[in-house]
């Protein structure tokens, strides 16, 4: 009965991983047979500026966007956890952007970030990195969201921050699992609200926060890819050519599946390192908690 599921796990997840590892050592255009290259693809990786650029952009995105997303989800969950019509409405409002399909979501942002009449253009100047940009609109402040490298990176992060509703729902469910008596007991012991949150709510939420962080790391690769394809086209000046987008261009545009597989292998490695690192950090944190 597990048959189809196991076949799927092997065929659609396990086999692809092996295949990636195999193809990574070849030159392969998906038309003629792959040719063995040994480590040449990896040698090229070391010299490929766009690869390092993509790696850096992806890591910056993870380091900036993921903590902001997790904190945002936590803040939202604490903000809207009480009952009532107003908070129910807020929960719905916060959840709404996560329901918009990827392509529609990216397109509406492309519209909102346009330099001519985007409503957030004034904000874009904050991120100006001093690169020369042309004023496109003499009437209003020109938006530089899509013309300035740093502003474009900020725009993608902004785009990711509007979809923290799913994380909020997960944390609300976890908050609901915390027995009310614990708060009453803490109250009797004279713990203030801040102390209750710090010593009761947060430690009990820790497993959910870890889960959410892991999920967001994985999610950020996908979300930034869609943003790069639709909103920024990887630009300006390759500022948003994240590693997944550079892999996509190599495979899809240049037909270099071997090279793309080598980079995919690196992406596997990074994902494993990030997830493993977070796990270890969480375990260490727990040991410290219980020791103290």
């Amino acid at each position: 009965m597990l048959g189809p599921y196991l076949i799927g796990l092997i065929g659609l997840i396990g086999l692809p991983a092996l295949l990636t590892a195999g193809i990574a050592f070849t030159q392969y255009d998906a038309l003629s047979l792959p040719q063995w290259l040994g480590l040449d693809n990896f040698g090229e990786l070391l010299r490929d500026d766009k690869f390092w650029n993509g790696l850096r952009a992806s890591l910056i995105l993870v380091v900036v966007a993921v903590p902001l997303r997790v904190l945002g989800a936590l803040g939202l969950a604490l903000l809207v956890q009480s009952r009532g019509r107003a908070t129910a409405f807020l929960r719905g409002a916060a959840y709404l952007p996560t329901l918009i399909p990827d392509i529609a979501y990216a397109l509406v942002w492309l519209y909102l970030l346009n330099p001519l009449y985007g409503p957030l253009n004034g904000l874009s100047q904050i991120f100006a990195s001093g690169v020369e940009t042309e004023a496109v609109n003499p009437v209003a402040t020109p938006g530089i969201w899509l013309t300035d490298p740093r502003a474009a990176q900020a725009a993608v992060i902004l785009l990711l921050l509007f979809t923290v509703g799913e994380g909020m729902v997960l944390l609300l469910a976890a908050l609901g699992e915390i027995p009310r008596d614990l708060y009453e007991a803490a109250e009797l012991d004279g713990a203030s609200g801040d102390q209750q949150v710090r010593h009761l709510t947060l430690p009990l939420l820790a497993p959910s926060l870890l889960l959410l962080t892991l999920r967001d790391v994985v999610f950020s690769f996908q979300a930034s890819f869609v943003a790069a394809v639709i909103v920024t086209h990887g630009g300006p000046y390759y500022a948003t050519t994240y590693l997944p987008y550079w892999i996509y261009r190599n495979a899809n545009e240049f037909g270099r599946y071997g090279y793309a597989a080598a980079m995919t292998l690196v992406l596997y490695g990074i994902t494993a390192l990030l997830i493993g690192g977070l796990f270890l950090a969480a375990r260490r944190w727990r040991e410290v908690q219980y020791a103290g």
Partner: protein, 289 residues
């Protein structure tokens, strides 16, 4: 209407804030934050809708408009008549009609078996499923592209449907497993003693007990296949097999600044998802708890 519609969307019981939090500075801060969150959540959708109603005959906007100077519904019929959107909509529905029932079948079958496994094997498979969930789509598409090409389903709708043979996502299998685990084992034991095989127990005893899980997976899978932009982007080249999300991207490529039409397409893609969730939250989000 929206207020009514979204009420209780994430239907979980939550206690109020711990008492000491109700400080003098906290209340106003909280209100400001709440207003920002509310606006931030709703504005993108409202802008999408308001732009979709802007007549294409008007000259392009030169500054931001909350509401266009004139309003029209024309853009909606236009996108379906002047572009292949009708066909792509049909493709989207076709994929859903095949993939979602298949997902429920394979997912519930696997979940049923998973719940019945001995503890050790079950833990192993659950860990494996969670690990599979953490594999990013972005590392899978190159090898999947090559596999699909090799077995000859690349550039056919089968490439879009393929994940449904494994219940689409390990998450759905786990949802089913949790649902089956909550059914008292005696229910299945009795049927087994009466000589029913595992498939029979799953179909006639198991499935009727897990309606909330079936509902939840149906909704989640339907929305996932409907919204899926990456699979057709990666695996479909032939425009005849496009689904709506890549179709709307094609619309953008043929007319990059035709915002009213693009937003009409986006609204057409988004509203069914909202509708499904509104109906669904009345049914199983409450039932399921």
């Amino acid at each position: 209407m929206l207020d009514d519609a979204v009420e209780g969307l994430p239907a979980v019981v939550v206690p109020g804030l711990p008492p000491g939090w109700e400080r003098a500075w906290w209340q106003p801060t909280r209100t400001v934050l709440a207003v920002l969150v509310g606006l931030g959540g709703i504005l993108p959708l409202l802008w999408m809708i308001s732009t979709s109603l802007r007549p294409t005959t008007l000259p392009a906007a030169i500054r931001f408009e909350w509401i266009p100077p004139a309003l029209t519904w024309e853009n909606y019929p236009t996108i379906f008549q002047s572009f292949a959107l009708g066909r792509w909509l049909g493709n989207s529905l076709g994929v859903i009609l095949v993939a979602v029932p298949l997902t429920v079948l394979t997912g519930s079958l696997a979940g049923f078996a998973l719940a019945a496994l001995p503890a050790r094997a079950r833990t192993g498979l659950v860990v494996l499923s969670v690990a599979a969930l953490l594999v990013p789509t972005m590392v899978l598409w190159v090898p999947r592209f090559l596999i699909y090409k090799t077995i000859g389903i690349l550039d056919t709708p089968l490439a879009l449907i393929a994940p449904s043979i494994m219940g689409t996502s390990p998450l759905y299998v786990l949802l089913f497993a949790w649902a089956f685990a909550r059914v008292p084992p005696a229910t299945f034991e009795q049927a087994r003693l009466d000589g029913a095989g595992p498939l029979r127990v799953w179909w006639s005893i198991g499935l009727p007990q897990v309606w909330p899980a079936i509902g939840a997976v149906t909704v989640l899978a339907t929305v996932a296949y409907w919204s899926d932009y990456l699979s057709p982007l990666f695996y479909i080249n032939n425009q005849d097999y496009y689904t709506l999300p890549v179709g709307i991207q094609a619309l953008q490529q043929s007319n990059p600044t035709g915002w009213p039409l693009l937003m009409a397409g986006s609204v057409a893609l988004t509203l069914p998802v909202l509708g499904i969730f509104l109906v669904a939250q009345r049914f199983f989000f409450r039932l399921g708890r």
